[in-house]
Each structure stands twice: as C-alpha cells, then as structure tokens.
Amino acid sequence: MQYAIATHRLTKYYGPRAVVRDLELRVPRGCVYGLLGRNGAGKSTALKMLMGMVRPDYGQVELLGEDLHSISPQTRGRIAYLAEGHPLYTGMTIGQAIAFTRPFYPRWNGRLVERVLDHFELPLRKRIGRLSKGQRAQVSLTLALAPEPELLVLDDPTLGLDTNVRHDFLESMVHLIQRQGRSILLSSHILADVERIADRVGVMIDGVLRVDCPTEHFKRSVRKVVVEFSGAIPELPGLAGLIGDAQFGARRELVFVGYGRQQQAALEALGPSRLEEIDLDLEEAFIEYTRGPRRRRFVLDEEAVA
C-alpha cells in the first residue's frame, strides 16, 4: 500500500519527558485520518515533526514517498499545512496574503480562491488582523487549498471557533477536500467533526499511538455495558478488555475494548437483573477509552452537593 505519510519510531523528548514516543503512523493515500488525543497527548508535536517544524530526537518521516530530511521544494509544494491558530500576517490584507502566497506555487486555483472569498463575503482589502477567528480560518484554508495539494495536514483547524462558524468551516472543508486521491491528516478536539469526515482514526495517549484503525472499527470496538443487580453487587471476575468500571448504586457501567461472547457469558453468570450493551459514538468511545483506569469519574453525590 502507498502511504501519504509514514513514520518510523518518531520520538521527541522535552527534557526527560517523551512527548512523542516511537510513533509509527501510516496514512494511506486518499485517506482522511483523524488524530485524536487529550491535551498534551503529543498530537501537535507529532504534526510539527511531520512538517519539519520540530526536529525529532529519533525516527524517520516520509511524506508522499520522500524522506523529510531531503524533501524537495516541489514535493513540499504538494503538501498543505494549517498550523494551530491559523498563523497569518496580521498586517497584510487578504489580497496581499494571496499575492504573497501565490508565487510560491506553480499550480494555483485562482477560481477556487475567488469562489471561497465570495461565498464567505471576505473582501480582499480587509486586513487579516481585523478578521474574526472564523474568517481567518477560512482565509487560511483557502490559501492552503489554492495550490491543490495532494496532502493536507491540519492541526486542530476548528479550535476556538464557535459552533456555527465551526459548522460552516467544516462544511466548506468537506466540500473542498472531496477530491479523489487527496490525503488528509487532521488533529482535533472536536470528535464530532472527526467522526463526520475521518475514514480512519489514531488515538494518542501520553505520546504513544494506542489506536490506529478505521473509525467505524474503533466505535464498534469500544462498548459500554450496563449491568444492574437487584441485591448486593457481586465481585467481578477478571474480564478481558475491561478498561472502565463505574458504580452507581445497584448499577455498574463497564467499558470494554473487544466485548464479545466470552465477556457476556461471564457477566450473565453473575445473575444481573439487567444487562444492556450501549453503542457509543466516536466522542463517547474516545472519552471512555482515554479516561484510563486511574481517572475515576467525578460524581456529584448528595454529600458533595451538601
């Protein structure tokens, strides 16, 4: 299989702490890949290493088949990168930003630029420093897409945007990126956004890529099972794949990765009054998966409220 992005043991230390450790990321060509993780999980550092903005302490990166160390400007021109916060020159007008960016690319879709600016009513003479966050994101995306890149790397592109603007941004992004063969690596905190567009997800926890699979597979793999008992709650036997366990009175909520017949049989043997499997969406699956066994749910009980 051909990969748009392939890394081998990519590692970065800040002081003694490994913020990214042995990252083996493979983004197939034509795939929309959502890179997920809590704050500080190492997503941004990983993306910056992929773009050559942070030097790895160890490991290799290949972009569109070329080693990052010796990547040619031509290949770099086929890759778009939207850094977190959409950094642009605030003193420039939109027109000046376009005039500055255009000469760097032999291929430039001026029609697309015109259409996007027209659609979002962004006047060329408006200064970037005076744009709202959403408008700046639109300009940033337009500048990234105008050279018709084969690979887009987007670092939390909807961060800080309100719900409506985020929705519009995402709609335009979905519309604009739907081109055959275009590969996208997207990191985001907004799981619903990722769920809408990503074919595949990766989950980073403490600098390590713990999950790398199709989005649907991840959602199917993480299951919540609710068991209720009429009497005292019995001791749970050792259950394979159990990653979360919370108790609310006579009810117990268990989270499994790879829940199957074996676990079901073990739970039924405890004689519960109710046993129910709950499907999770990507956000719920992500929360349950990344919560970890040490991070117990914070429950406001009567004592705490009083």
Binding site: M53, R55, P73, Y81, L88, Y89, F104
Partner: protein, 239 residues
Amino acid sequence: MTTATATTSTSATTSAMARALVIKELRENWAIAVGATLLYVWMVQSLCQPGFHGIPFLFIVSTGQRGVPFVDYDFSIPFAFTTGLLALVLGFRQSISETVQGTYLFLLHRPWSRSAIVLTKLAVGVGILLVCSAWPIVAYGAWAATPGHVPAPFEWSMTGIAWRQLAVMPLMYLGAFLSALRPARWLGTRLVPLAASGTAMWLFYLCPSRWGFEWMFLVVVDALFAVTICYMVRTRDYS
C-alpha cells in the same frame, strides 16, 4: 529542450518567490526605515546649519564650534548611534515578529529552501540598513565639499571613517537577528550572539588595515553569522 524550459521555469518561479518575500519584508519594515530616515534628515539638517553648535543628541555635548567634517565627532557619534539603533531594531523586528505571530510555521512551509527564505530576509534587512544610512554620508559630504561651507579643506577620502562605521553595522544587525531567532532560557544567554557581534565590531577596528585584512575579517565574520542563522532556521524547533 525540455530541460532548458524547466530550468527557465524554475528560475522564473524562484525570482517570483524572492520578489514576493522582498515585498513582504519591505511592507513590514518601511515604518522603521522612514523613522530612521527622519532621524538622519534631522541630523544632517542640524549639521548643515550655518550657526551649528553641535547636535543636542543624547550624550553629545555641544563643543560650541564646528569640527572638521567626518574627522571630528560631530557626525560620527550621532551617525553611529542612529545606525546602530536602526540595525538593532531591524534585526530584532524581522525575527521576533515572525515568532510572535507564529508565522514561521506559515513562512517556512513554503516550497522554497529555508536558507533561501532567511537569506532573502537578511538581504532586505541589510539593504534597508545600508540604503537608509548611506545617504546621510553622501549628503553631508556634498555639503562639506561645497566651497564656503566649512572653513577647512575637504577631501572625499575624509568620509572613509563614516563608511567604515556603516560597513560594520550589518554585523550588529545579524547579531540582533540571531539573538531573536535563537531559543534561549533567559535574556543573558539570548543576547550572546549580539555580544559576539559587538566583540567582532571591536576586533574589526583593531585589525591591521594592510592588504585589506580588516575587510576580509569583516566579510568572514558576516558570512559566519549568516551561516549560523541559516543553520539555526533549519534546525531549531518551532513549538
């Protein structure tokens, strides 16, 4: 034939990229250039006054009479101060503004080598510095060369001191640029490149002037700073 066409196309693209970057740098730094020019205008205009009694410029004390143009300190001290200030402001401004806005991430992702990008920035900075600071020497020299203005003979070779002052200022500019670019934990270590450039400027004045040794020294040190800046741009983390 195809290769020739491709080469022409590449060089055309390169010149277009360079032009775009030069325009951007000029647009961002024109206010600094205008500010420096106004200071120089005021300085030269003060020097050319018939009843000149020295420039009330910070630590410059009026001597009460006009000195020999370029040889005495009437010109050289305010000139060195203004040019040094311009070099510092330009160097820090060009680098810090990219860091503060986070635009190094945008700029360095352009499909052009990082060395080419930063060398273009430096060329514009040095260009602004030299163009803004050269004309006061020429203007004051032309005034001094006009008979009746100065009660002493004037030779254009007397401007040599000022030209030497100007020639050494790109070092200060490069030191400031590198100080702003290079990551450091605290201000003291951040300013190490600036201190190094100051030392090199001092050494330049100590160099023997035979066989152009001083100029060779200056060119080598300037080149060392430029290479270090290119290396730093390529290798530092933009986190």
